[in-house]
């Protein structure tokens, strides 16, 4: 692997992880209300345990939150 490609790959991974960190923090503070109410009342330790997975699978978290929001809107209509 050439040096520029390696640097690009590492930067991309860093960006992915940074976005994942933001999404994970959002989910644990607010987003879990929509997706899984059980998270809201859970302990801080539990939230710390699932945070790495939320950051790693953040596209899934965003898609899931979006679909839940759409469902909620259609129910409200």
């Amino acid at each position: 692997m050439s040096d520029p490609i390696a640097r690009l790959l590492i930067a991309a991974l860093g960006l992915y992880a940074a976005v994942g960190g933001v999404v994970a923090a959002w989910f644990l503070v607010r987003g879990s209300r929509r997706m899984d109410a059980g998270v809201r009342t859970a302990s801080v330790w539990f939230k710390l345990l699932i945070a790495p997975g939320l950051a790693a699978l953040w596209p899934w978290v965003v898609a899931r939150a979006g679909s839940k929001a759409t469902q909620d809107d259609s129910h409200d209509a």
Binding site: M1, D3, R7, A42, F46, L49, I50, P52, A56
Partner: protein, 356 residues
Amino acid sequence: MSVGYVAIQWSRHKRIYDAAAAVGAVLFVGAWVITGKLMWRGEHALSDEVLILRGLGSCAIVLLHVILAIGPLARLDRRFLPVLYNRRHLGVMTFLIGLAHAALAVGYYHGFGVVSPLVSLLTSNTNVASLREFPFEWLGVGALAILFLMAATSHDFWLRNLGARAWKRLHMLVYIAYGLLVGHVALGAVQTDRGGAYVWAVGVGMVVLTALHVAAAWREAPIDAGRASATPNEAWLDVGSIDEIPMDRARLVAAAGGERIAVFRHKDGFSAVTNVCAHQGGPLGEGKVIDGCITCPWHGWQYKPGDGCSPPPFTEKIATYQVRVIGGRVQVDPKANPAGTPVTPATPMGGEGGHA
């Protein structure tokens, strides 16, 4: 089971299990370092860092072998079921040990140059066209990424939100991680001229794991053969004579094109439920009745034999089946009832068990 999330569902059994695994890992790495110091002396002596990082790496792959062996071993011999019970914690431990190995290796081999350690890791060996010289570090990185994903999604939160099927598929990636690690160890040994011992060790490990999986599949072949011979319209399936089902245990039978059915003997009656646990798809038929409940051998989820419902306050339900006893033989109707449907246990005197 599902009444709110907790960080880790500790129990006395799990604490002992985890403590034993942690002590075992520390002893393994310690023994590795001491043996290394005794074996390689003088000009062949290895630094403490190299001995520790190789000990950690070896410990991780040994643990992975144990994890992959537990499943088929428990199917071949019920005495291994207690080891299966807490396998997820073992998986997280394997990732953490692998991470420590990777951090030490990157720091030791790539951390003292002018180039960033991660860039150095990816660019120091570019012989991708050569099988023998292929950058074995990349294989380790790939395996570690998979182990991370599995450890990060090991909590029941993920099982519930991803769904059992997707979660199971995700965690089957462990076999890809294993393959990558075998390549990582074998190529690493070849490229650093550490002799054939490592290659032989992983080779023996692969053979043992393959043999265990084949043996477990061979043992279950009669059940699948029964499924293949049954016709879709067959009304009742023969499970066996009443004496062939041990008290508080189950015998498995397979419906045509359907899933396996676990027929349990409890007290004076026989009850049938799906063999698939609602938690992670564990084999309920390999569990036993504890405190009046069918108990999954994987993680201890429980269901009442009479209706397939978890005891309060839990709310899980699994499918039940009609059972009857005719002429001393237990038979089950392969048509599944909706999950949680009460069915009166069949008795030798009372014949067929109907909806309660």
